[in-house]
């Protein structure tokens, strides 16, 4: 493959406290653009940690230790002098539970752009409509933009959180188990909007279940106890896994 990967993880080892067992050990992984890459595996495998390293949210935690490199478009995002705020605008994150800010639907969507300095009302209106449409939420909330975001249903809130990230026009979207609290219908809506979004974005997602991973993965990476066991196109990995541990996990022998 000659294409330069969007994200390239090289020899990444990470621990929360310098002394303890690493949460991630020697991870090497290339993530291509316009694909959905799924990071899956049993809990405590380091999936969420890896996701949070991709936009440096783990910077908020003191005392962590990391070696190795994470390259975004070939640039080391942990190099000195990197603008972390700018990085987080390029690499957005949707969390497991929808956390609407205590403000209206509209204010939630425009929060990121306003922090960036966008003031123009018309421009902000455009951003609101475009982002909510992309998150498949516009039709449901277009008459409720000035209601508190907390009044939306759980599924709507999670799509609002997605819209909020899209409002910043990121390049990469990270999703940490975004459908964990959602009913099957809302889950389907989120999944189908992700299928649309991958045309324009690079998507990295920790799925809710192996089934979900199999449904939406273009590429899948199996993480076990901080180790990257196997990384392959979704169709291949879920039907003909090369590693015995991957096979045992996806056939339900453990996990």
């Amino acid at each position: 493959m000659s294409l330069q990967p969007k994200i390239s993880i090289r020899g990444l080892t990470f621990s929360y406290d310098g002394a303890g067992r690493p949460v991630l050990t020697n991870i090497n992984l290339d993530i291509q653009s316009n694909e959905i890459t799924v990071l899956f595996g049993p809990s405590q495998g380091g999936k969420s940690t890896l996701l949070r390293l991709l936009n440096r949210l783990n910077d908020l935690i003191a005392g962590t230790k990391m070696t190795g490199q994470i390259l975004l478009d070939g640039q080391d995002i942990y190099a000195p002098g990197v603008n972390v705020v700018e990085l987080r605008r390029r690499v957005g994150m949707v969390f497991a539970l929808p956390i609407p800010l205590p403000a209206t639907v509209r204010e939630n969507v425009t929060y990121g752009p306003r922090l960036k300095g966008v003031r123009d009302r018309h421009h902000l209106e455009e951003i609101v409509e475009r982002s909510l449409r992309a998150a498949a939420l516009w039709d449901e909330v277009k008459d409720r933009l000035d209601e508190p975001a907390g009044a939306l249903s759980g599924g709507q809130q999670q799509r609002l959180c997605l819209a909020r990230v899209l409002a910043l026009e990121p390049e990469v979207i990270l999703l940490d188990n975004p459908t964990s609290g959602l009913d099957p219908i809302s889950t389907a809506k989120v999944e189908s909007s992700l299928q649309e979004l991958k045309k324009d974005y690079t998507i990295v997602m920790v799925p809710h279940s192996i089934q979900q991973a199999a449904r939406i993965a273009d590429k899948a990476a199996f993480l076990l106890m901080g180790e990257l066991v196997e990384h392959a196109p979704g169709g291949e990995l879920f039907t003909r896994p090369k590693d015995k541990r991957t096979e045992d996990y996806i056939t339900g022998r453990f996990g």
Binding site: N55, L57, L60, A62, V85, E86, R88, R89, G92, M93, F95, L97, I99, L101, P102, A103, Y111, G112, L115, K116, P148, G150, R164, V165, L168
Partner: protein, 281 residues
């Protein structure tokens, strides 16, 4: 004893404790009101004292206390909120922050008369501010700091971490996150701390004794460097230093002071409920 019985006994005891807490405040208010209401009239509230404070009104003392309370607010609020934000959001656990916390705890424990003496030595004499509203405000402001800092820090810490993470992940800087998420959500709690502190400042006698309060000064203060009468000190004076003082005037003065402090509470409660309605989690 069955679980239901012990549950009932516990409930009864807790209810009793809660009621007992309410009784003294209600009694104080009723007693002061009954004793003092007869002294309250338009002249009492708006005139200068006459005849060695035995007649006339208490206007200079009311104005003095209001001005001192504002002065205290100006001195303490920015400093206290700044310190609270630093401690809650920025400070790592180092010897310096431990020293700061220790200092705040000790500041809260210093008796108010010691603040008064310090104010006299430092503000009045060393800084040559004289016995003045500004010296009194600085002294009261200092005394108020620890209360406001601790409550404000508590309020800031209790804003859920998830909102900070969301704001940071949406490209917010640390300060933007504090400014747009943390502070608005912590505001009701911070406000409570401010009011608690100012109420205490408004009612204190000892810190103003040497720094601002005039025994008898039947005119309004003209500048921040002027002395002034103030309600708590005036109350002390007319209760102990003036022979032939009517008890009705004494209790009337106490009632005015009480009303002033309680009305600050009411304002705070209104503001708090406003903010809460605006920001729903």
């Amino acid at each position: 004893m069955s679980r239901q019985t012990s549950q009932k006994i516990a409930f009864a005891l807790l209810t009793a404790a809660a009621v007992v807490v309410v009784v003294p405040i209600v009694l104080v208010i009723i007693y002061i009101t009954i004793q003092g209401i007869g002294a309250i009239n338009w002249e009492f509230l708006t005139a200068m004292p006459r005849n060695g404070m035995r007649e006339g009104g208490i206007l200079p003392a009311i104005v003095g206390t209001v001005v001192l309370t504002f002065g205290t607010a100006i001195v303490s609020i920015p400093l206290a909120i700044g310190a609270a934000i630093y401690l809650a959001e920025y400070a790592r656990d180092t010897w310096l922050t431990r020293l700061i916390r220790l200092a705040i705890i000790n500041l809260a424990g210093i008796p108010s008369v010691v603040y008064g003496l310090f104010g006299l030595g430092f503000f009045v004499l060393f800084l040559h501010l004289g016995t003045s509203l500004i010296a009194g405000s600085l002294t009261l402001g200092l005394m108020t700091l620890p209360i406001v800092i601790s409550t404000a820090e508590e309020a800031i810490i209790s804003v859920p971490q998830s909102f900070r993470v969301v704001s940071i992940s949406l490209g917010g800087t640390r300060w933007q996150t504090i400014r747009h998420q943390v502070l608005p959500q912590a505001l009701p709690g911070i406000l409570t701390g401010i009011i608690l502190g100012l109420e205490r400042a408004a009612g204190e006698t000892a810190p103003i004794l040497f720094t601002v309060a005039a025994f008898y000064l039947p005119r309004l203060p003209r500048s921040p460097f002027d002395q002034s009468m103030a309600l708590p000190y005036h109350l002390y004076v007319i209760s102990t230093q003036v022979p032939g003082m009517s008890t009705e005037v004494q209790y009337g003065t106490a009632l005015v002071l009480l009303a002033l402090v309680l009305s600050m509470n009411v304002v705070a409660a209104i503001l708090r409920s406003r903010f809460r309605r605006k920001r729903r989690w």
